[in-house]
């Protein structure tokens, strides 16, 4: 079969494995149909696609997920210590009993995806499938199109003012073969603020998409801890459109998982906006972690930062593909990108593909990528002060991840993330 045919039949296979959603409002049906048409046109991803060269999509394309056992632990779940509004999904399905009562929270409205999509006139019409569709150019993201076309789970959230409590989307995993698709639609109105926390593996295989519209002068904070199940597989997409003087901040912590592909597509459309995307991951053995980021500057004086740090050990692979596109007229753009791999032994690998594409003349963009082992001189310094080797190494790993953790605006949330990494390191240095 020719490549194109393989991709097309692959797309059909992706479609076939999910039940067709029930008919919804006209606009929603059209959005889903549009996504389905996009998927069929672009086909399933393949290893030879430019953005899949470092990550094999096979287990994401497969008819069924690889079985993954849910991790059993007596540790308190991530974010438990925070006064958050919880929305709980079990194997991808909303669980009302475990979720908070969300009515009455000032400046916040939350609906189920299916309810919103069944409503004839809804603001979500301007976001659902719209940001995802825009994010398909110039790079195809077939799993995101699939998500829009078939997702029947998720929430539609609108912040109309400063929402004081964070909304915690918690994804529990039970069944070994759970294959979850979740799609969230978020709108932060002009000058409103919202914090979204996400944690948990969600399923054996998880396809998550989130579309976020950040209004003028609005703030959106996102902190995510992807679940610790060793065999979990995940592909996630965040599509954001950032308005004038708005702030978009996202941080992801990943520990364990056989395959994680986190894509971020950020479009800065209003002047003087800021967007920061950061990620820290630690993995050992059968662990493949890919961050694929595309930031577009389409307005003046916007600032963007990408900070990705990966700690890899015994066969673990880290991938970073990050791009800054500065469009014509996006003067005074300040773009920064750093990706670094810390290899704890000779058997780990870090692959980076940083890209800059600039069509404005008055911009400051910098990017860097490094990869290496722990600093022996620093390690000896710590040892010479009596700090045991394992503890000294862990201190250096935490220090290495520091720049990514520092991107979390809230100190308590940053501390929560540091504590989780420290816990992982302690368990793994025994």
């Amino acid at each position: 079969m020719a490549v194109a045919d393989v991709k097309i039949s692959g797309a059909e296979a992706l479609v076939a494995r999910h039940p067709a959603p029930a008919s919804a409002a006209k606009w929603a049906n059209e959005a889903r149909d549009g996504a389905m048409a996009r998927l069929r046109a672009m086909g399933a991803p393949m290893r030879r696609d430019e953005y899949w060269r470092f990550t094999n999509p096979a287990i994401l394309n497969a008819d069924a997920p690889r079985h993954a056992t849910a991790l059993v632990t007596d540790e308190t779940p991530v974010f438990d210590g925070f006064d958050a509004l919880r929305i709980v999904f079990v194997d991808g399905v909303f669980d009302a009993a475990q979720s908070s009562d969300l009515s009455g929270e000032p400046h916040l409205s939350v609906e189920h995806l299916t309810d919103a999509l069944a409503t004839d006139i809804h603001w979500a019409k301007d976001v659902f499938g719209v940001l995802e569709a825009a994010g398909q150019t110039p790079v195809d993201r077939p799993f995101a199109a699939l998500n829009t076309a078939v997702a029947q789970s998720g929430v539609v959230i609108r912040a109309t003012g400063p929402v004081s409590r964070p909304v915690n989307l918690r994804y529990l995993h039970v069944a070994e073969d759970a294959d979850a698709v979740i799609h969230h639609v978020i709108k932060v109105d002009d000058s409103a603020t919202l914090t979204i926390l996400e944690n948990g593996p969600a399923a054996a295989r998880f396809n998550k998409a989130m579309e976020i519209m950040v209004g003028d002068g609005a703030e959106f904070h996102h902190v995510r801890a992807q679940g610790r199940d060793h065999d979990r597989q995940c592909v996630s997409h965040m599509f954001a459109r950032v308005g004038k003087e708005a702030l978009y901040k996202s941080f992801t912590l990943t520990v364990n998982g056989v395959l994680t592909r986190n894509e971020h597509v950020i479009d800065m459309q209003g002047d003087d906006a800021s967007a920061h995307v950061a990620g820290a991951c630690v993995g050992e053995g059968d662990f493949h972690h890919d961050d694929t980021v595309f930031v577009t500057h389409d307005a003046e004086r916007c600032e963007s930062r990408q900070v990705f740090k990966k700690v890899l050990k015994s066969g673990a692979v880290g991938v970073f593909q990050g791009k800054i596109l500065v469009k014509e007229g996006a003067q005074k753009t300040d773009g920064y990108q750093i990706s670094q791999g810390l290899l704890l032994d000779d058997d780990a690998q870090f692959l980076a593909k940083p890209e800059l594409e600039i069509y404005a003349d008055d911009v400051a963009c910098s990017h860097g990528s490094t990869c290496g082992a722990a600093d022996e001189t620093a390690l000896f310094y710590l040892l010479s002060r009596g700090i045991p080797r394992a503890q000294a190494e862990n201190m250096l790993v935490l220090a290495f991840l520091g720049e990514a953790m520092d991107e979390i605006a809230d100190d308590d949330l940053a501390e929560e993330m540091r504590g989780r990494v420290a816990g992982w390191l302690e368990r793994h240095s025994k």
Partner: protein, 251 residues
């Protein structure tokens, strides 16, 4: 306290002998100084004693209070009481100075079977010692040595020494890069630690430091060996005449 016998050390990676039979006996409570031309092996001796990788002991021994230290891991030597104030203190971005100090103090206490210091107790002690070395709160909060001036780094070494209260303190050119006032501070810091149960090995190029930290014994090292040992007057001789005479004498 420290006994070094016929110590021979070569580089692990290449066939280069650096220490060629060092003998040194430092009694409890004594201060010894080592002077010697550049490249004679002074820092190498300090690294080998503290356990840095990259060196191979081909002959000889080194014991601290009778225990063979060359067989120990660096962190075990530290817990046993060896401390090296580095010629070039290391910058560690991302590790807070205070966290580093507390981790080190408590790791050593734990290794010795002592109770760890609480955050409050630790803070009290560190503040007091930092104050006498004119190290301000801001320097304690910053990452280890990052952005510190040369003199600040050296004072930070002495602060670590004061916190860890080692038995055998090795100071590698702690005076270099210090202005006159800072040198006095550092010397005061060292003198405050002088004790019948604590010994010092002070590596320096200048008599000046030895005006403040009075040595009991002065050694001259050249080409990987101690070639002359004497009293404080030996340091004055070097200051006035350089090494030529001494090297000539021995040759």
């Amino acid at each position: 306290m420290l006994s070094i016998k016929n110590l021979h050390v070569k580089l692990e990676e290449e066939d280069k002998q650096i220490l060629k039979g060092v003998n040194l006996e430092i009694g409890a409570g004594e201060v010894h100084a080592i002077m010697g031309p550049n490249g004679s092996g002074k820092s190498t001796l300090s690294y080998v004693l503290s356990g840095k990788d990259g060196y191979e002991v081909t002959d000889g021994e080194a014991t601290l209070l009778g225990d063979d230290i060359l067989d120990m891991e660096p962190e075990e030597r530290a817990a046993a009481g060896v401390f090296l104030a580095f010629q070039y203190p290391v910058e560690i971005p991302g590790v807070g100075n205070m966290t580093f100090l507390r981790t080190a103090v408590n790791a050593q206490r734990k290794a010795r079977g002592e109770e760890e210091l609480s955050a409050g107790e630790f803070l009290k002690v560190v503040r007091e010692k930092a104050k006498s070395l004119k190290i301000d709160a801001d320097m304690l909060k910053r990452p280890v040595n990052v952005g510190f001036s040369g003199g600040e780094k050296k004072r930070n070494e002495i602060l670590q020494m004061a916190m860890l209260e080692p038995k055998m303190c090795i100071l590698d050119e702690t005076d270099s890069g210090l202005d006159v006032d800072a040198m006095k501070l550092v010397a005061e810091g060292v003198n405050a630690l002088r004790d019948a149960g604590r010994s010092f090995l002070v590596i320096t190029h200048y008599q000046r430091l030895l005006d403040h930290i009075k040595p009991d014994v002065v050694h001259i090292m050249a080409d990987g060996k101690i070639i002359k040992t004497g009293g404080p007057e030996l340091a004055l001789e070097v200051e006035n005449n350089g090494y030529a005479d001494i090297l000539g004498e021995v040759a």
